[in-house]
């Protein structure tokens, strides 16, 4: 039986979030918290693999107590178990400290049930770094397969997985040993409409919550703000694109004008 763990995060919905114009930081209260969209695809893929090969899907997150909602969302999608690490000691973590804390939690989960595969979203929409997944893989000393947009095969008996990794001009087919870690693209799957029994299970579900003390062999210096060497020296908003031209007139005029621009300025559309 495969044991797949999806690492997920609750993030503010950056589609509607407002930025503080003075500090250029996100006003997190201005947007609802959602399950990071890439992570939803990670969970969906884990559940699909479970359906295909049999097994168990666990999800793991680090976050404040309200992040339980994100775990419930994963239960709706078909995950079996949810784990959350939540402690003031984890607060202010950058990607280095986050991958450390998640690794410690993954080690604890693996003690209860060995892990065959870890799936993360490609990145979170609030941080956009894409570093946590590979960070975990490095710490666990397993191969990271980033940018996965198709899983061809997972073979637990023979201990390998075959996936497609997205490249700029196509994809590459990679075979890796198990256990390994995928970070997945959004086009890997379409999120399915959760069946009602999952919804009811999720409404009742309470995840296992661990504090820093519950994890084993933790070096507290590597947690949270203390364990985060990243310094954000400056945040600025990208300049708004300027210029542009709105075509007016009848539909026919607009189309012919547009066509002549396209033909004249080919370099813009190559």
């Amino acid at each position: 039986m495969l044991h797949i763990v999806a690492c997920i995060k609750q993030v503010p919905d950056t589609k509607i979030i407002k930025m503080n114009p003075k500090t250029n930081t996100m006003d997190r209260a201005s947007a609802p918290a959602i399950l990071n969209p890439y992570d939803a695809h990670a969970v969906e893929e884990a559940v699909r693999l479970k359906k295909k090969y049999g097994g168990i899907v666990s999800v793991l997150t680090m976050g404040p107590p309200p992040a339980v909602k994100a775990i419930k969302k994963c239960i709706e999608l078909g995950a079996d178990e949810g784990y959350m690490i939540s402690d003031r000691a984890f607060a202010g973590a950058d990607t280095l400290a986050t991958s450390y804390a998640l690794t410690k939690a993954l080690e604890k989960i693996a003690k209860q049930r060995p892990i065959d595969l870890i799936i993360c979203g490609k990145m979170t929409i609030d941080g956009d770094t894409g570093q946590v997944g590979p960070g975990i893989a490095r710490r666990l000393n397993i191969p990271p397969l980033t940018g996965v947009n198709k899983v061809v095969e997972v073979n637990k008996e023979k201990g390998y997985a075959i996936v497609h990794r997205k490249l700029e001009d196509g994809y590459e087919v990679v075979k890796s040993q198990l256990p390994c870690l995928f970070t997945v693209e959004k086009d890997i799957n379409d999120i399915s409409f959760a069946p009602l029994p999952n919804m009811i299970k999720a409404a009742r579900y309470q995840p296992t919550i661990w504090t820093a003390d519950d994890l084993e062999n933790v070096d507290r210096k590597q947690l949270g703000l203390k364990g985060s060497p990243t310094i954000v020296s400056k945040v600025w908003a990208p300049p708004k694109p300027e210029g542009g031209k709105i075509l007016t007139g009848t539909k026919e005029q607009q189309v012919s004008e547009l066509l002549s621009i396209v033909l004249e300025k080919k370099e813009l559309f190559s």
Binding site: F193, A194, P195, L196, P197, M199, I200, A203, R204
Partner: protein, 431 residues
Amino acid sequence: MPEKFDCIVVGAGPAGTACAYELAKAGVNVLLLERGEYPGAKNVMGGVLYRKMMEDIIPEFYKEAPLERPIVEQRFMMMDKESAVTFSYKGLEWGREPYNNFTVLRAKFDQWFAEKAVEQGALLVCETVAVECIVKNGRVVGVRTDRPDGDIYADVVVLADGVNSLLAKQLGFHREWRPDEVALATMEILKLDKNVIEDRFNLEANQGCTIEIFGDATKGILGTGFLYTNKDTLSIGVGTLLSGLIKHKIKPYELLEYVKNHPMIRPYIQGSEPVEYLAHLIPEGGYHSIPKVAGNGVLVVGDAAQLVNAIHREGSNMAMTSGRLAAETIIMAKEQNDFSESMLDQYRMKLMESFIGQDLKKYKDATHHFERFPQYFEQYIPMMNRAASQMFTVDGSSKWEKQQKIWRDLGSTKQKFKLARDMMKAWKVMK
């Protein structure tokens, strides 16, 4: 085998949530289904929440619920093109505990209320649409949802699925509502600085004001406009019977724009920014439109049962009370393990004995009367404005002359008789 609950409540608005809350509190295993992303996501009302009926469910809710402002003043404007006769009552006793009513924003309030039901033990499942009741041997035994493996069973199903109540319609409890049984309300939430609101409406912090606008707000169509103060937003809207919009060929958003730009209203909202646009049907058929509300294994509450008092813009309170009465009935039915129509019909009796039945009966012909005789809104409100203008304009003519002019403005003797008759009729349907 799908899971079976004691009760499934369809719809987490005030009626459904009140019902689920009371049931869960009594230890009944209840599932609360909501089609929106969260409770309140799809719910609309002008924004007045009545304290008493809410306190019947959660005492002292105002200490923690997300409310906007306690209302201390209620104004009623009889509006013409560029004038208005206004009645108002302002009472500071309404600004203190236990309060009278509050303005609320439903997206926040409904969410909070549903959380309270969950705390009592109700199971809330959102983003799930109940598409039909599952009926076996003439009994409702569950609901079918739009999700895979979506059948779910219960001893009793409560339909709190709102004005159109497709589920009650499928059961044959009511037909498609006629256009004169539903009103269409459109509204906007306008952002405005808190201090500006308090200055404009003559309020102190944590005091609110409601204005109901009759007459030209709806271009003489039967209905009302409204303007309510929230913390740092205003709710402005207009609701008219659907039949009126059809007859006058007016689009609802045009009417809302008309009200927003009306010279009597514009100064109140000047400088505000629209942050939300909402629209919803409101059941305003009144007493005669109340459908069958109890069947074998099923009850209908709130808007789904047409429980709205259009004359007094009360609806959420009736919804909550109907939800509570349905819960009481279900608890009794559960004790006797009898969910038949004859047992559940006690809900109808409770409903009719309560203020809901009494009030709806009192005004049973009011809406229909004003719908049939448009002169009240089209002629008499402008007449009232002309009379006030005449009386209060100081132009050197004597007061006696002014009274004569006002009297002449009422028209010929025949028209005066008609006016007197109309006033009598209005008194009859309202008394």
